[in-house]
Each structure stands twice: as structure tokens, then as C-alpha cells.
């Protein structure tokens, strides 16, 4: 089973890029973009594992 999340997200971004170039319908482009955006955001949230010991 393929389980490499970063690789899968790059695959998703590749698919989004092809949709952006080839598809004219704006809502399809936007939906794909936000799916990619959400996937990258969730991976970022996974890697933010602790609150930094800093005062702002």
C-alpha cells in the first residue's frame, strides 16, 4: 500500500496544475485548488507538534 503522504500531495498538486492549464471551468479549477490547499494545510498542521517556548 502506498502510504507516503508527501508524495501523494505532490501528486495532487501535479493534478491541480494540469487542471489549471487544461480546464476552463473556473469552479472546477477553484475546487481542485482548495483541495490541494487543504491537503497542504493539514500536512503542515500535522508537523506543528508543539507550542514554541517563546513570548510574543
Amino acid at each position: 500500500m502506498v502510504s507516503a503522504v508527501d508524495t501523494l500531495i505532490f501528486g495532487l498538486l501535479l493534478a491541480v496544475a494540469l487542471v489549471v492549464i487544461l480546464v476552463r471551468t473556473r469552479w472546477i479549477v477553484l475546487t481542485m485548488f482548495f483541495v490541494g490547499f487543504l491537503a497542504v494545510g493539514l500536512l503542515f498542521a500535522y508537523h506543528v507538534t508543539s507550542v514554541l517556548d517563546l513570548s510574543f
Partner: protein, 229 residues
């Protein structure tokens, strides 16, 4: 309703004006708007290629998970320029599509800026050597934050002008050919990153915090990097 050089439509109480680029300076700004988007793409292709081919391959520095995420942020942001450039070349770009592209660029840059800010703050304390090699006195994640801020400023400036910088694609075959090469190069950049990160990650769920080995083939590059967490 047609005015001189403009098409005006009323949607409810909103007046939508689509200018026709009739004056020489209008066409100049349109061409500038097009090539600015192409430059945006070329700049990020250059940044992503330098990070991969120079720092990762030549310097044997393995990118950390946040580094990979920042590459994704740059790609997300560039998708906006890709949308504008490719549809402008195909003559399918509308004023609202232009705004969609700039919005995508801003959103991608915001996410990328959050990632690079996180990595800067991880290494902000005095005495921390940072992650990886510095370039011109700044680490790559700091340069990444600068690039994301530049993208947001770039898109903001274009949006304040409204439709003045609506791209006008070139008509000559060689110029259009060069731009299509840039579009293909951007797609290839994503594809190459996909392969490289697959070699680095293997079939593990996620990248380790301090990667030292290409997990797929069990290869540790020499000299092995000694990054600080």
C-alpha cells in the same frame, strides 16, 4: 451599455466596467501584466530548482518536512500565475479569472509564509545555528518568507490597479512558444519534486524531522548533513 473604449454592465447596483485596451499605454500595461506573471513562474521554477539541484543534490542537504512544505507553498502560489498565463495564451482569460489567479497566488503565499515563519521561530533563539546552509547570510526558510511576502505585495499591487494589468499575451510564435516552455517547465518541476520526495520518504507515512537517508533505496548522501532540530 457601450462607452468610448469601455463596456459597462450594471449588475444590481454594481457597475462593472471592462475597458478595451485601445491606447498604446493600455497595451503596454497589458503586456507588462502578462510578462510579470511569466516572470513570477520563472522565479519560482528557479528557486525550486536551486533548492533541489544545488542544496539537496550538490550539497547533500536533505530537506526537512517544513522545507518540503514550503516547496508546496511555492507551488500552490505559482498555480495562480499558471492559471493566468495559460488561459491568457489560450484566449480564455476573463477579468474575474485574472482576479481568481491573483487570489490563488495570495492564498498559497499566505500558507507558505505561515510555514516559513514557523521554521524561523524554531531557530530564532541566540546561538541556534539554524537548519542547513545559509545563503547570503540568510537561511533558505528566511528567503522563502521574503519570497512569499513579495508575492503578496505583487498580487496586492496588481489588484489595486483593477483591470489595467489584465494580461495581453504575445502574438508572435516564438514568444508564445517560450511561454509554453515555461508552463511545461513548471509542471515538470512539480513532477521531479514528486519523484525526489518519494525517494526521500519511501513508503513511510511521513518524513522524519531530520532526514539523513533516501528511505526508498537506503542511500545516505555523503557528506551526511548534521542539521539541528
Amino acid at each position: 451599455m457601450a462607452e468610448t473604449g469601455k463596456l459597462t454592465v450594471f449588475l444590481g447596483s454594481t457597475r462593472i466596467v471592462v475597458p478595451e485596451p485601445s491606447k498604446p499605454w493600455h497595451r503596454l500595461m497589458g503586456r507588462l501584466g502578462f510578462w510579470a506573471q511569466v516572470f513570477f513562474l520563472v522565479a519560482y521554477i528557479g528557486v525550486l530548482s536551486t533548492a533541489m539541484f544545488y542544496f539537496q543534490f550538490a550539497q547533500a542537504e536533505m530537506p526537512c518536512p517544513l522545507c518540503i512544505l514550503q516547496r508546496m507553498g511555492m507551488m500552490l502560489s505559482s498555480l495562480g500565475a499558471l492559471f493566468i498565463v495559460s488561459h491568457s495564451l489560450k484566449k480564455t482569460l476573463t477579468p474575474s479569472g485574472f482576479m481568481t489567479g491573483l487570489g490563488m497566488a495570495i492564498l498559497g503565499a499566505m500558507l507558505g509564509a505561515a510555514m516559513s515563519t514557523r521554521q524561523i521561530l524554531l531557530h530564532i533563539l541566540p546561538g541556534d545555528p539554524g537548519y542547513g546552509t545559509a545563503m547570503l547570510g540568510l537561511h533558505l526558510y528566511t528567503w522563502a518568507l521574503i519570497s512569499f511576502v513579495v508575492v503578496m505585495a505583487f498580487a496586492g499591487v496588481l489588484l489595486t490597479f483593477g483591470t489595467e494589468f489584465l494580461p495581453i499575451a504575445p502574438v508572435s510564435r516564438w514568444a508564445r512558444g517560450i511561454v509554453w516552455v515555461v508552463v511545461v517547465a513548471f509542471v515538470a518541476t512539480i513532477a521531479i519534486n514528486l519523484v525526489v520526495v518519494f525517494f526521500e520518504e519511501g513508503f513511510n507515512w511521513f518524513l522524519p524531522d531530520n532526514p539523513t537517508t533516501y528511505e526508498l533505496i537506503g542511500f545516505t548522501p555523503t557528506p551526511a548533513p548534521t542539521p539541528t532540530p
